[in-house]
Structure formats: structure tokens, C-alpha cells
Amino acid sequence: MAITLDQTIEQRQRNWLSEVISGQTFWVLIAVVLACIFLSFATDSFATAKNLYNITRNVTFVAIIALGMTLVIITGGIDLSVGSVLCLCSMVLAITMNAGYSIEIGIAAAVGTALLVGAFNGVLIAYLDFPPFVVTLGMLSIARSLAMVASNNTVVFQFGPDHDKLLALGGGAWFFGIANPVLYMVVLALLTGFVLRWTRFGRYVFAIGGNEHAATLTGVPVRRIKVAVYMVSALSAGIAGIVQTGWLGAVTTNIGAGMELQVIAAAVIGGANLAGGVGTAFGALVGAALIEVIRNSLGLLGINAFWQGTFIGGAIVLAVLFDRIRNLRQSE
């Protein structure tokens, strides 16, 4: 008897492999891989070093923000302000450096701005119990408006003494010819994955998304964690903004416009659940990669401009279809 109880307790319902295969992330990854294989055969220009360099670089901005967004989504929240925060942080960086300060000070100012915005969102959501949608929608307006005020709505394209450093930061390729932004993305993704899986903070993020009430009852510092999560989300937007500024070499007040939907889409396609409690760092990357591969393929395949939206939309839906069909099969 004792032995069987022991056995039961040691039993695991699913092994590692079945765990992986049962996830949406896996199936979207398959979709991405299939798309890449198809494009390699259908076009001469897809599988070239240059194109791959471009694709991987383009994917980073959405992917970096999607990492932060994934945390927010896991807690059951949403952050619509990321596109505007990216714009505001880029602008703060640009203006600071344009005024003659060093790149370190510029980055510190941008990061500080991001954290401040995130803290504002987080405090309203966590302590005053505002709906995240309302707060971050408000911030979507506010942050972009502040970027306009700060820059007088002009294009900033001169970054003072450290101009070249900034451009190298975002546009260079210091490591085996991999674009710098890609390196940042990989490092941040590993960090996010580690935090989610191995730290208490990550555990609490999942707990809040699973059952916020239960988390409160068991002594999880729900409010502080929520504030932290929105700060991380804004920070990720700020980092993406800094890197993007270095890449673009100019900041206008409309960068990042409409990005929030793309970012959320990347996270959700990668398996995060807007109802909370589910999501992975890897999924965010896969989702972002899917969106970029679609975008890239439209140009390479020469799709008619009017039809492009249909292809993008269709592909987004199709990518998730894989996973759905598997699910449907299983539940039969």
C-alpha cells in the first residue's frame, strides 16, 4: 500500500516532450519553420545572409517589447501604452543627447522615463484597482503627447557628441556578424525565461494570473508585483526605443504608432493567454518572428499592395490554426 501511494505521488502526468508538443508555441514555431522552408524554395532571395540578417534585426523591436508584454499578460493585464512609451523614451534619449549630453546620460534618462511611466501605470492598476485597459489607453495618449511637447514635434537626427556610439549600438554587428539588436533580444529573452521559471518573482507573476484572490490570501505581495510588471513592460518598450533609435538614426513623433497591437499579437500568437496565467518568453519571440516573416515574404513574393493586408491577417489566423486543429483532434 505504502509503495503504491509513493508511486502515485512520484508519477508525472506528462513528460517533457508531450509538454512541449501540447503547447501553442510549438505549433506556431512549426508554422514559422514551414513558412521559411517554403520561402527558401519559392524565392531566391529569402535564404540569403543579407535577408536573414535583416529579418532577424527587424524582429527584435517587437520581440523585446513582447517579452515585457508577456509578463503583463501572464498577470492577466494588458499594456496598450508600449508604442507611445517607445516613442517617448526615444525622444527623451534623442533630446538629451542632442543637447550635448553623453550617451550614458541619455540612456539613463530614457530608462528613467520608462520606469516612471511604468510605475504610474502600475500604481493606478495595482493600488487603485483601475482596469489596465483604461489606464494604459490613457497613457497611450499621454506619452505620445509628451513626446510631441518635448520635441516640439520635430525630427531629431543629430545626437550630439556620442552620435556615432549610438548608431553603432543600434546599427552595428559586433558579434559574428549578428546584428546587435538581435543579441540584446536573445539576452533579454534568456533573462525573461530565467525569471519566469526560476525566480520567486516569476512564480508570483503566474500565481496572480491564475487566481489573484488566492495569491493575495496566501501572502503574495500582489500589488508590488503588479507595479513591477508594468514597470518591466514599460522598460522593455524603453529599451526597444533606445535600440531602435540607434538603428534608425532619427526620431519622429510617430514611431511606434500602432505597435501595441502588433506586440500583443506576437505574445498571444506565441501562446500567452489574455485571460492570464499562461505565457512564455520563447513564445513571444516565436510570435514576433512569425509576424516579421509574413511581412518580409510579402515583398519577396511581390504580393499586390491591396491584397497584402489579407495575407497578413490570413497568415496570423493560419498560424494558430495548427494548434487549434491539434486541440480539436485531441478533444474528439
Partner: protein
Amino acid sequence: AKKQLVIVVKGLDNPFFEAINQGCQKWNKENASAEYECFYTGPASTSDEAGEAQIVQDMLGKADTAAIAISPSNAKLIAQTLKTAKPSVPVMTLDADLAADDAALRKTYLGTDNYLMGARIGEYIKKAKPKGGTICTIEGNPGADNILRRAQGMRDTLSGKKGLAALKGEGGWTEVAGCPVFTNDDGAKGVQAMTDILAANPKLDAFGIMGGWPLFGAPQPYRDLFKPMADKIGKNEFVVGAADTIGDEVAIAKEGLVTALVGQRPFEMGYKAPSVMMDLIAGKPVEDPVFTGLDECTKDTVDTCIQK
């Protein structure tokens, strides 16, 4: 409060309109003691057409408004708004005009001749490659009338025919598959799309960029893309004709990474508009249209091409 000379632009998210604002503010500074002031407004986003119409209504309903200059993003919609509002103050258009059959709804048009602008870009391209070739047009927002007009101007010039929606060998020019590209006024997206098009069509001969976004919004990736081709551009083996002279664009021209720039003069529009409106209020005769000029820059003329 002062009476207001209102300028309603398509959207605040565009540095082009900001130059109009600068002109407007300069006028305010120079006419600090005037009975009127210039007031600049518009919806947050250029794509918010209904929002612009609502702002026009709000402004027409305001007692302080003495005259209004509108840059319609949807000409028909603004025409309809004006028809129903039956404004008692003078109305003019700025930067973009109403359709020809609604011309009676406004007193005059002040701004660029967008068709001419596209035509000038077309001429530069044609001059560089008289025998024609393959081309891709980069456009902005799919609904933006001024951009569509520029594209038409360019196509007509290249083909020598009127009103073609796409070039299929007319005048020697062919638009490649996947073009025109709509970038929704996003610089990064514009350059990314150009990169893809170039990768898919290595033999492409020309880009016609109808709004300057890829150059002034993403100058660095633009440079990265065309630096390897600077030689070809110098020898007219590859041609890039682009609109606007905003931000880093002129510097890019100086580096020889663009064949020609054709720019508008938004500052002049914003600066002139209040005077034109005052003339309208006073009932003085005003020309229709009042065109502001174009600044045309090539590698050789960059230091002198911008009207100061």
C-alpha cells in the same frame, strides 16, 4: 481673447505639419500686437479623417474663429462637412485642396502643387534613365490624396500618358510586383519594404518615393541600404527620386545616396496662411490657387537648394 485664424492640419503626428506650425508661430511672434492670432490644431493621427472633420466643425462653431485654413486628409469628407456647416467665416485650404467640383466651398488654396511635385520627381528619374526600366513606388497612407496625386504626376511624366494606375511598360517603365508599397507614414516600415523589394528584384532600376518617411524617419537604415549602391546612383545606373527635404534628407542627398529630392515649403505655407486669411476677412481679392514653390536638391545643389 484675440480673434483666431485657425489652421486645421491632417494630423499632429507628422513633422511636415509641424513646419506649418512653426510658420504660424513665427507669424504670431511678428504680429504680437495684431487683433488676430494664428491657432494651429488637428487630430492626433493623420489617418483619423472623421476626427479632422469633427475638429473643423468644432472650430466653425467657436465664436473666436475669424477664418479657417484646412488641410483636408479626406477632401470629400471636408467638403461635405463644409456644406452642412455653412460657415459664416472665410474658408481656405492649405497644403491639400478640395476636389475641383467642390472648389466653390473654399476661397482659395495655398500650398504645393502635388501633381507637379510628382511630375518633377518623374522628370529626374526620366532624365537619369531615359530608356526606362523597372521601378517601385513607395507611398504613404493608402487614403492620402496628395500622395496619390504625386504618384499620378510621376507616372504621367514617366509614361507620357495621362491617368495610368500602374505602369506596364508605357514609356519604357514597368512597376514590379508588390508595388506600390504603402508604408503608412512609418519610416522603418518603408525602409524594410524597400529592402525586401530590392532583395526580390535585384535588377530594379528606380525607386520613386512619394513621401520622405524612409529618408527622414529612418536615415540610418536608408544609408545602410544604399551605401553599397552609391556608385551606381552616382552613375545613374540606379535612381532614387524622393519627396521632401525634411530632417536628414538633405545630408543624404549630399552623400549621393539619392538622385534628387523635391521638397515642399511647409514653413512658408504656415507663415503665409494668416496673411491670406486676413486678406479674405478684409474682402480683398486673393489669387486662387496660391502655390508655394518647390525646393529641388541634387548632390551638387544641396548647399543652395533650400529656400531660406
